[in-house]
Structure formats: C-alpha cells, structure tokens
Assembly symmetry: C2
Homo-oligomer: 114 residues x 2
C-alpha cells in the first residue's frame, strides 16, 4: 500500500501536439505498481485545453475544481466539480478550461495509454 498527497507528485507540462496550458500528475501508474490502470490529475490553466483527438482507450474522468467543457462530435458539455465523464475508446474529444480559475480533473486510463 502507499499513501501520498497530490502535491507530492511531480507535475509536468503536457507536450502533446494540440495541447495548451495543460499539466499532468501521474498519481498512480505502472511505475508505482499499478497492474491494470493509471490515475492521473490534469490541471488546465484558464484558456488551456487538451488535444482534440481520438485513441483506442477509454477515459474515466471526475472533475475536482474549476469550470470547463468536454467537446465531442455532438458538441460541448459544461463541466464543474462533481461532473463525471466517460469517453469510450475511438471517440474524438477534448477538455478545455472555460473559466477563470484552474480547471482540475482526474482521468483514469488503462496501462499503456498516454
């Protein structure tokens, strides 16, 4: 078992093409012994966003703080703390900060996803 505080985990800029003002913490991952899936925390600065892209794996998302939107083929949906988002594999999507404070969410993915 391990216990740590979010703030102890190194935060890095998301350098993927199509991302802007996006930062990630890998809270639980293969490197820390996870056998099946990884838990990450994302922070998007005001105006920040993740790539509008698609991939084979799913996202399971829980919004922690701030205001944002998730965009897909059917348009945008507002998100706030307590919002739950499931993005199936193969579905185009991105997340954007639509507010004036940092927008923070957890995103769980299968191991091997980026």
């Amino acid at each position: 078992m391990f216990v740590k505080d979010l703030s102890e985990v190194n935060q890095t800029k998301v350098e993927t093409e199509g991302a802007e003002g996006a930062y990630i913490r890998w809270l639980i991952s293969e490197e820390t012994g996870a056998p099946n899936f990884a838990m990450r925390e994302f922070t998007l600065e005001p105006g920040g966003y993740t790539p509008y892209h698609t991939h084979d794996w799913e996202h399971e998302v829980y919004v922690l703080a701030g205001e944002g939107v998730v965009a897909g083929e059917e348009g945008e949906t507002l998100l706030k703390p307590g919002s739950v988002v499931f993005v199936p594999g193969g579905e185009i999507h991105n997340f954007k900060n639509s507010g004036s404070e940092p927008f923070k969410f957890l995103c769980v993915v299968p191991l091997g996803a980026k």
Copy 2:
C-alpha cells in the same frame, strides 16, 4: 460519451458484512459501458467504515472530502482531500471516517470487483 453529475447517480448503502455507515455510488461501471475498470464514490458517515478485508484486486483511491484513515497491516495513515491511496491486490485494508463530517473518496477497481 456520457456526462453526468455525481448527484444524479443513485447512492446505496454498503451491505457487505463488516461495513457500517458506508454508502456507494457506481459512477462508471460495466453497466454504463466501461470495458476495463469501474469508478465508484464512497461516503462514510462520521464513525463509519468499510470492511477490514482482502481481495485479489487493487484499489486506486482519491480523497474528495472529510477526514479519514486507511488501515493495513502496518497501521493507520491519515487521509484528507488530495490524498492518493494505492492498495495492491491481496493486501488487507479498510477505510474509516475519523472526522465529524462525511468522508468521501473515489475508488477505482477492475471490472468484476465488488
């Protein structure tokens, strides 16, 4: 893709033997199309706890609100909002509310876990 608010998800009492004052919401599960893992939210009332037990699957936990502890063979560790806990499969554990407010956390498990 689906988006919903936590409050829209039905909350049920955890009836497992050894649980007290514990409630669960299955936010994302096999029933909602998840292929690999499920995201649940737990609420423990003041004094509430989950069973002190072990099982084959892992827990990936993120604390949302309140104060609690996770107990294992090596004792208890305090938890607060922003605490991250990884419990490997096969390791005995439970979660308890040690505060005066509801203790809330997310717990992600492989499909098939209870």
